[in-house]
Amino acid sequence: MTIKLSNISYQVNDLVILNDVSLEIKNGEVLSLVGPNGAGKSTLLNIMTGDLEPTNGCVRYEKYNLKDLDIIDRSFYRGVMSQAQQIVFDFSVKEIIEMGWIEKGVSSYSNDFSKAVKEISSLCDLENLLERKFNRLSGGEQRRVHFARTLLQLWRPSNSKDPIFMLLDEPTANLDLYYEIKLMEIIKMKANEGVGVFLIMHDLNLAAKYSNRIALMSDGSLIQVDTPINILDPSLLKRIYNLDMSVDKATMKVSYF
């Protein structure tokens, strides 16, 4: 079960943003996309979600062409967390999380709704914040709420065999060290349950520790997709990031200053 991008190009007028990118995200794996600012990482994510139509190439979810899935079906197969926008009106944390309960989910498992909300709030340590106003929370707390919302969108009964995918744009941004690790652990746990996870990451150490594979991107092209140990190569990283790095292969840690 996979999300498969084939020969994706994306162009705005004459500006080439993505150039012939092919990539596959399998169920049960964590794939991290890393690369410098402006490499085209978020554009690739937006094409994967269906927000943008590629100029060339095609996106397939399993056996379906993404173009042929309607908006509700898309929301059933993949949950997305990106850089959040400001929310104008004063919703409570609980209301924001519950927004993840998508139309298709509502009709299929409506009896499990409260159970799912409870389970996920406790998983993300949000039980004590549920009645608080979302806008009064700190940036990191807001991020955790959006993450919980994404988890709720992908909630399935334990016997479900649906192929589902989590596409996250810098999920650990604004989080403190404790929740950074906690969130990555939850992501890993979800992958072990069979979810296909695609992450855009900046922290190479976190990416190396929690990913099955890392995709390295620069100037709109995929440079290499490989296991962390092969991607963490000082000369390769030097070429992409223009920064001297040393890699300790035993602990898989990158130092760059």
Binding site: N46, T49, G50, D51, I71, I72, R74, S75, F76, R78, G79, V80, S82, A84, Q85, I87, V88, F89, D90, F91, S92, E95, I96, M99, G100, I102, E103, K104, Q153
Partner: protein, 319 residues
């Protein structure tokens, strides 16, 4: 939340019964039951339905634009309707003989004005497309300005009596209510409101931002289309029958949010009910304050609405 809603229903019925009580009181004193049925009842109903229209379209447009300052005037619907009405008031008597459309000519022309504005908006935003709501707001403001130019020219060329008619129309009144006009209006507006309410959850999701709403399964483009067209219909009809009534569309949703939260599932019906209530009361006041004359109801709502809005702003700043 449910209890709050039922409280609002009760409040609405309460004010209804006040006006009906008033109606009965007048009946007993004048004993002209039939005449009053023809005048008072359609008038109260019209006030209610206009209030509901302004309330719910204010709430849904604020949700759609994710902007607490949005109101039905902002997308230019009211201005379009006003332009349509002004054309009839100023030019009507000289160019259109009375017997062609009879009482329908003013509302019809106003509705056409509102429709024209919505069509322009639709054209400029390529079908309320993906350029984002800020773009649509800007187009709305520009269209608004154009309509004001039209009204300005008409005002400039109008005679004294036409000018008086124009001025009173822009201050709003339910005085012209009669069953021939009110009944079709009520039916169309009620249906539109009932079709709009099921979309409240999508409006909630939209608060996360357009991309996020799409990713949660909301067809943002069709939601925009639905909300804007619905607002245009209810406000266009309302303005055409009652003139310009300020502040209700802006203030009522805010008050409802303070009372019961920001969930559109609650907010849309609550704003409709409370809008109706407040308008019936305002109309009642406009009738009894300076008897036997009548205050223009739009003047009254703005006179009460504006200070209330200021108080609201200060209150929000304090907390």
């Amino acid at each position: 939340m449910a209890s709050l809603l039922s409280f609002l229903v009760a409040a609405s019925l309460g004010s209804f019964s006040v006006s009906i009580f008033d109606y009965l009181f007048q009946t007993s004193s004048i004993l002209e039951n039939k005449v009053l049925e023809q005048i008072r009842l359609p008038r109260v109903l019209l006030a209610g339905i206009v209030g509901a229209s302004l309330g719910i379209s204010g709430a849904s447009l604020q949700g759609l634009f994710r902007n607490p300052l949005a109101d039905p005037g902002l997308i230019g619907v009211s201005a379009g309707a006003a332009l349509g009405a002004s054309v009839v008031i100023v030019l009507g008597s000289s160019f259109i003989p009375d017997y062609i459309f009879g009482p329908f000519i003013l509302p019809l022309s106003a509705i056409m004005g509102a429709a024209l504005v919505i069509y322009l908006l639709y054209l400029f935003t390529k079908g309320f497309g993906y350029q984002g709501v800020t773009y649509m707001l800007l187009v709305g403001i520009a269209v608004n300005a154009l309509a004001s130019v039209g009204i300005g020219i008409l005002t400039f060329i109008s005679s004294d009596s036409e000018l008086r008619g124009l001025t009173f129309w822009t201050m709003g009144s339910f005085g012209a209510a009669n069953w021939t006009l009110v009944l079709p209006a009520i039916i169309v507006i009620l249906i539109t409101i009932l079709l709009l309410i099921p979309y409240s959850r999508q409006l909630d999701l939209l608060q996360l931002g357009e991309p996020e709403a799409y990713r949660l399964g909301v067809d943002v483009k069709s939601l925009k289309f639905r909300v804007i067209i619905s607002s245009a219909i209810v406000v266009g009809i309302s303005v055409s029958l009652s003139g310009m009534i300020g502040f209700v569309g802006l203030v009522v949703p805010h008050l409802m949010r303070l009372l019961g939260g920001v969930n559109h599932n609650y907010l849309l019906p609550a704003s409709a009910l409370f809008g109706a209530t407040i308008m019936i009361v305002a109309d009642l006041l406009s009738r009894i304050l300076i008897q036997p004359a009548e205050l223009p109801v739009g003047l009254l709502t703005s006179a009460i609405g504006a200070p209330f809005f200021l108080w609201l702003i200060f209150r929000i700043r304090k907390t």
